[in-house]
Structure formats: structure tokens, C-alpha cells
Amino acid sequence: MLKIIVGIKWVPDTADVKFDPVKGTIIREGVESIINPPDLNAIELALALKEKYGGEVYVISMSPPSAIKGLKMAVAMGVDKAFLVSDRKFAAADTLATSYTLSCAIKKIGSYDLVIFGEETIDSATGHIGPEVGEMLGIPHLSYVTEVQEVDLQQRTIKMVREVEDGVEFFQANLPVVISVGVGINTPRYPIPLRRLLTELETNKYIETWALNDIGADPEKVGFKGSPTRVVKVIAAPMPARRLEIREASGETVKLFIKRLKEAEII
């Protein structure tokens, strides 16, 4: 029996995000939200491990209440239970405060063998949460995991494979561990229509909402107050100006292209 907790984030689809140059803020209104893509791979890995070894898969998310849509989707994929960790006091948290909050929620769930996160989110892309949560839970963490080769429930060990710049590493660790996985390690399954219906009908049975007090978190360590970093300003990123010489394909165009490459001293 494996008890697996998957952390997910409900994120604005960055392909749609617009920037307000006057206010200097991201326009989130009207932008569709999705489950952060690698988090779907994390859910898939958890469900596949459950199928192989038996057990339970729980999902947690520190989000505003709107994330319930994402949690319902996770339950419809086959997750046993989802926890929405939501409180006004959690707002404007940086990664340290977020990881603290998540680690409190994980401790509240109690026993677990494996915690899985998506490697990074498409909005902030820090890759911090996995390592930070591992640290706060006092257990090892491994990023960039591509495969869980074997779980030995008797010995309570896990064998993992991961990719780094110059090769592939094979690790063995004692359970429990925290791992982070990237997009492309597997193909996330689709939500099951029947389960989707059940989730809608009996939302309270599948999804629990926890506030600050429920997870026993220190109010000084969550949200804006608990965040050591401060965003001073956000500005539109200047893209270097380009020549924008766009031509239809032809022999002449190719000749002109070669000429430009020569001028730029590339050939």
C-alpha cells in the first residue's frame, strides 16, 4: 500500500496572459486557468504507482477557491481525495511561504510514502516548491525524476531515474521522499466521465477545504507576512528590435538571405 500526495497548482494559461503596461501588472481577468501541465504528469505517475502497488492518491493545492475546478478534474482522473488549502491569509505568498503552507497541509494528512510535484509552474517557473517542501518535511527530495523504477514496500525504499545535463542518474532512497517531475515523462489520462459526474454530485465527499487553523500553520509564516522576498516592480520585458525582413520563398529570397548572413559576418 502506497500513500501518495500530489501537489498541484491552478494556473493562468500563460499563452493567454496579457500585460497591462500602464498599471504594470499581469491581466489575469478573462484568462482561462488550467492545471499546471507537469502537475498532470505528477498525477498520472501517482495513479500508475497506485495501480501497481495499491494504495491511495491525495491531491493538495494552495489556491483561491476558484481552484476547486482543478481539484474536481484531478478527482475525475482517479485521485481518491483532494484538499483545497485556502485562506485569505495565504495570499501573496512567495515560494518559501507557499512551501511552508503546503508542508503543514501534508503533515495534517499524516502518513505518506511519496509526495510528487510538477517540476515547475508555467507562470512563475521557479522549481522551488519540491526542494523546499522536502526540506520542511525533513525528508530527501529529488528533482527531474523521469521514472520510478521500483518501490520496495517491505524495505521501504524507492528506486528512481532522473535526467541531468550530462546524463542519467539512478538514485535509491528510503521512503518517504519528495520528487518533482517534468512534462513528457508520461501521458496523463483523461478524466473519467462517470467520476466527473460523481465529483459534481458529491463534491464534499471528494474535496475538503482547509484554512489556516485547520492545518495548524503559524500565521507569521504564511502569505505575504511569511514571505522573505518582495516584488518591487514588474515591467514589460523589452524584446531586442529585429529587422523583420519577411519574404515569400523563392530563389531570390534565398540569395538575399545569404547576402544578409554575409553582412552579419555569419558566413
Partner: protein, 333 residues
């Protein structure tokens, strides 16, 4: 940890199997600039086993001091062990700024150290500065690089950040530079996680971040035509083949060849994007290339809003024409 008594700019110098990673040496140049503004020193932390040959290298690249731990347990990178050692070094030396190159190991190590020390950390910075209060300004590009966020860590110390590799230039190696070298012993307890095997990747070609010419392809390219890319590549010295994310996600190329926000940052002399639509996440990884060219069938492809030379057409026709012209140039006249 509170602010008092924290001083100096420190850089973690990452070595793998006895080779110092260039990305961490790049940071020494940036650390020097910050240290000059703060009127303080640049120090380097170095961890590994049998480091004799390496300990002076950070001095040659701009460090004033090297603090190193030479321990058999540190022979291979293990996130648990390296974190424990670095936390002990930070507690002892109390840096006000601690920078780590955003390699895969660095991006894993830095947040675990920050969490242990309960300090702030900013990921993948592309620029640094010092604000009027003496805080480190950590500038990073979230949302696929469409914005730049300026971040500070006003109270906690050290101020930690990782930096994107290949954004900062490599300082010149000067073997006449002198500095202090300190050997440290730290406690290393038996880890609960161990590396059991390493398989080196089979990379015959030059890594994409080192190539001067990148022939890059995306979803609009059929790999059955791969010979076209290779032929094209052969016309340029120091050239290599890279790709966009969907290619890697489909398992067609290794992640080490991926350009973009979730891949590598590259800045070659020529970036030729073939069948790449130009998603913002992709542009984030190649926008600083000297010359960007694109071949795409779709005249509305985003890449055409962001290139120096764009050819609207089928690559199957354009590349052979290009090869023909390049052959003519090569032939002695």
C-alpha cells in the same frame, strides 16, 4: 536569519567529476560588480573530492577567497549531502549575498538551502543590481519572459538567487590573480538517498549553448527530413541542432537539445528556426541570439514578428535552395 553580521558576496562554484561548470564561473564576474558596489569581497564555496587542481580556479576568475570542502562523501553530487555541507558553510561565513548557477543541480540545491535557512530565494535571475538601501535587486523573467520582475529580500539573510546559465559573460581567466584558500571540514552524515549509477549521455555533437550556429526545428518539421538539417549544419563551423519543446515532449530529441523557458537559453550568432511557431516560452530561450532567421509555411506564425529574416514557405523547398546557394559560396571561384 536576521541581517546583522552578514557580509560579502558568495558564489557556489559547481564542479562535476572534477570539472568546474562554466555557469558558476560566469557568476563570479557578476559577483565582482556587486561586491564593488557594496565595497566588499567575493568568495567562492567549492565542494567535492580531490579538489587540489581546482581550488585556485575561482581566484583566476575573480574570487578573493575560496572556501572548499574536500570529502570522499562529496565525490558525487548528492542533493542531501551537498545541501548539508553548504548550509554549514553559510552558517559559518554568513554571506549577505549567496548566488548559485541555475544548472539542474543548482536549481535543486538552492531552494533546499534557502528552506533550511528560512530565507528568501529568487529563481533564474537574468540580471542583478544593488538598490539604494544596499539590497540585492534580483531581476527575473516570469510568464515566459514577457515581463521582468524586480525582487528583493529586505530582511532575511543571505539574499539567495539562482542565475540562468549563459546570460552573464565568462570573466577572463587571469592566473596572476591572488587570493586566499581555506579548507573547511564539515560534518557529513549518512544520507537517506544515494546515487547508485550514472550513465553518461551520448552527445557526439557540441552542446547547443556552445554552438555559434543553431539549426532549430519545431512541430512544423518532419523528422524524416532530418538529413536536410544535418546537411545545412555542415556548412557552418561550431553548429548544432536544437529544437522546441513539443519535439522533446514527443520523445524525439533529448531535453538537452531543447531551447526555451523549460529548456536552455542560447545566444548563437545565427538561430535558424524551421517550423517553429515562436511561442513566447520558446522566444524566452533564444531572444538574445545575434541573428534570428525563420522558415515557416504559416505567414501568421509569431516567429515572423521576431526575426531578422523570415522566409514564408515550405522548408522542403527552401532548405535545398539554401544548400545549393551555400555550396556555390563554398566552391572556389
Amino acid at each position: 536569519m536576521s541581517k546583522e553580521k552578514f557580509e560579502g558576496v558568495y558564489v557556489y562554484i559547481e564542479q562535476r567529476k572534477g570539472v568546474i561548470q562554466e555557469a558558476s564561473l560566469q557568476l563570479l564576474g557578476e559577483a565582482r560588480k556587486l561586491a564593488e558596489k557594496l565595497k566588499t569581497e567575493v568568495s567562492a564555496f567549492l565542494i567535492g573530492y580531490q579538489l587540489k587542481k581546482l581550488v585556485k580556479e575561482p581566484i583566476y576568475y575573480g574570487a578573493d577567497k575560496v572556501i572548499y570542502v574536500d570529502n570522499k562523501e562529496c565525490a558525487n553530487y548528492n542533493p542531501e549531502i551537498y545541501k548539508t555541507v553548504l548550509v554549514q558553510l553559510v552558517m559559518k561565513y554568513k554571506p549577505e549575498i549567496f548566488l548559485i548557477a541555475g544548472t539542474k543541480y543548482g536549481r535543486e540545491l538552492a531552494p533546499s538551502i534557502a528552506a533550511d535557512l528560512e530565507t528568501g530565494i529568487t529563481a533564474d535571475c537574468t540580471a542583478f543590481d544593488i538598490d539604494e538601501k544596499g539590497n540585492l535587486l534580483q531581476i527575473r523573467p516570469p510568464f515566459g519572459g514577457r515581463v521582468h520582475a524586480y525582487i528583493i529580500t529586505p530582511e532575511k539573510r543571505p539574499q539567495m538567487a539562482t542565475a540562468r546559465p549563459n546570460v552573464f559573460p565568462l570573466p577572463e581567466r587571469n592566473v596572476s590573480r591572488k587570493g586566499e584558500i581555506i579548507k573547511e571540514e564539515t560534518e557529513v552524515s549518512k544520507p537517506s538517498m544515494a546515487l547508485i549509477k550514472f550513465e553518461k549521455g551520448s552527445e557526439a555533437e557540441i552542446p547547443i549553448e556552445k554552438a555559434e550556429v543553431l539549426i532549430s526545428f519545431g512541430r512544423g518539421f518532419n523528422l524524416e527530413d532530418a538529413h536536410l538539417l544535418e546537411e545545412l549544419c555542415d556548412f557552418f563551423l561550431k553548429s548544432s541542432i536544437s529544437c522546441s519543446r513539443p519535439i522533446v515532449d514527443a520523445g524525439l530529441m533529448p531535453r538537452s537539445r531543447q531551447v526555451g523557458q523549460t529548456g536552455k537559453t542560447v545566444r548563437p550568432k545565427l538561430y535558424l528556426a524551421i517550423g517553429i511557431s515562436g511561442a513566447i516560452q520558446h522566444l524566452a530561450g533564444m531572444k538574445d541570439s545575434k541573428f534570428i532567421a525563420a522558415i515557416n509555411k504559416d505567414p501568421n506564425a509569431e516567429i515572423f514578428k521576431f526575426c531578422d529574416f523570415g522566409i514564408i514557405g515550405d522548408y522542403k523547398e527552401v532548405i535545398p535552395l539554401l544548400i545549393e546557394e551555400l555550396k556555390k559560396k563554398q566552391a572556389p571561384s
